[in-house]
């Protein structure tokens, strides 16, 4: 292994760069463009696919503020209604524990 100093390495890069740029001189066949265009035509127009997608995206984004308002209203409603679990609600109506057991038996739980 021999060391290459900064200057020597720069020369190598420069020489490789010439080789790299020379690659663009390669040619492609005459029929290439018609072949690609044929492929594109076989895919059909793209407006319909993208049109629907864009419409859907626009619709979804327009619904965003409405969604936030609904979430806020729901939060306020829950806060004002003072949320109880089913058990807590039943307990407030039935005063002693024996009644609770009887109720459980009749409800099948």
């Amino acid at each position: 292994m021999v060391s290459i100093n900064k200057e020597q390495f720069a020369k190598v890069i420069k020489a490789l760069s010439v080789a790299y740029k020379a690659k663009e001189k390669a040619e492609v066949g005459d029929m290439w463009q018609s072949r690609v265009m044929g492929h594109v035509l076989s895919m059909g127009p793209i407006y319909s696919k993208t049109g629907y997608l864009e419409l859907f995206q626009q619709f979804v984004w327009k619904l965003t503020p409405v969604t936030f308002v609904l979430i806020g209203l729901l939060g306020v409603a829950l806060f004002k209604m003072d949320f109880y679990s089913d058990y807590e609600l039943t307990k407030s109506f039935v005063s002693n524990s024996s009644d609770l057991v009887t109720l459980a038996m009749y409800s099948g739980s």
């Binding site: 060391s3 010439v18 790299y20 690659k23 492609v28 127009p45 993208t50």
Partner: protein, 194 residues
């Protein structure tokens, strides 16, 4: 008096294609075929050029609705071409299809001549030696697809970090770090050859 043919701007042609006139896409192809081929030829092996250039135009067609009419179409198209080449190398590396050609005494000699200033005209574009091209392919084959793309754009094409960043869609900081690393890797590879 003969009427002059109407010259539509890129954005106008894009709009025509999006309105369903697929044939208008050919105008874009004729306008930018050489640019795409020039980009692709530099990044991928010769045998893959036609296919990759075709894939570039198909990608362009498919993502045409994503092109912003106020943007630079040429720049947008170039970035798709570069990313198509990058995807080619990623796929090739994943499938282990990258051929690791070995270097011979000829390459060794070429490298020594360049380093020691013995070469008379190593930088004449008209006279690119076969050894240089083979050595370049060998060295690029040893780099990862990411390092390879950065190495080619920054050091071999002479682009700025910002230009490479726009084409690859990576941050400038990422490009700079990769450029530094790929340069160090290449230097190490060449040292080990000597």
């Amino acid at each position: 008096m003969k009427d002059k043919p109407i010259m539509y701007s890129d954005a106008e042609i894009v709009l025509q294609v999006l309105e369903g006139n697929v044939n208008s896409f050919e105008s874009l192809m004729s306008r930018y075929k050489d640019l795409v081929l020039r980009i692709v030829k530099k990044h991928v092996p010769y045998s893959e050029v036609e296919e990759l250039a075709q894939e570039t135009f198909i990608r362009v067609y498919q993502s045409l609705s994503g092109f912003k009419s106020k943007g630079d179409f040429k720049q947008w198209l170039s970035s798709i071409a570069v990313r198509t080449c990058y995807d080619y190398w990623r796929k090739a590396y994943r499938n282990k299809e990258v051929t690791m050609s070995s270097l011979s005494e000829r390459h060794q000699k070429w490298l020594e001549e360049v380093v020691s200033d013995q070469m008379e005209a190593p930088f004449q574009e008209n006279d690119v030696q076969k050894e240089a091209t083979e050595l370049l392919d060998w060295a690029m084959g040893k780099l990862t697809p990411e390092d390879r793309m950065v190495m080619e754009l920054i050091y071999l094409e002479g682009m700025s970090g910002k230009e490479a960043s726009d084409l690859l869609g990576w941050s400038v900081a990422n490009i700079k770090v990769r450029a530094f690393r790929s340069r160090a890797k290449l230097k190490k590879l060449l040292k080990e050859r000597q």
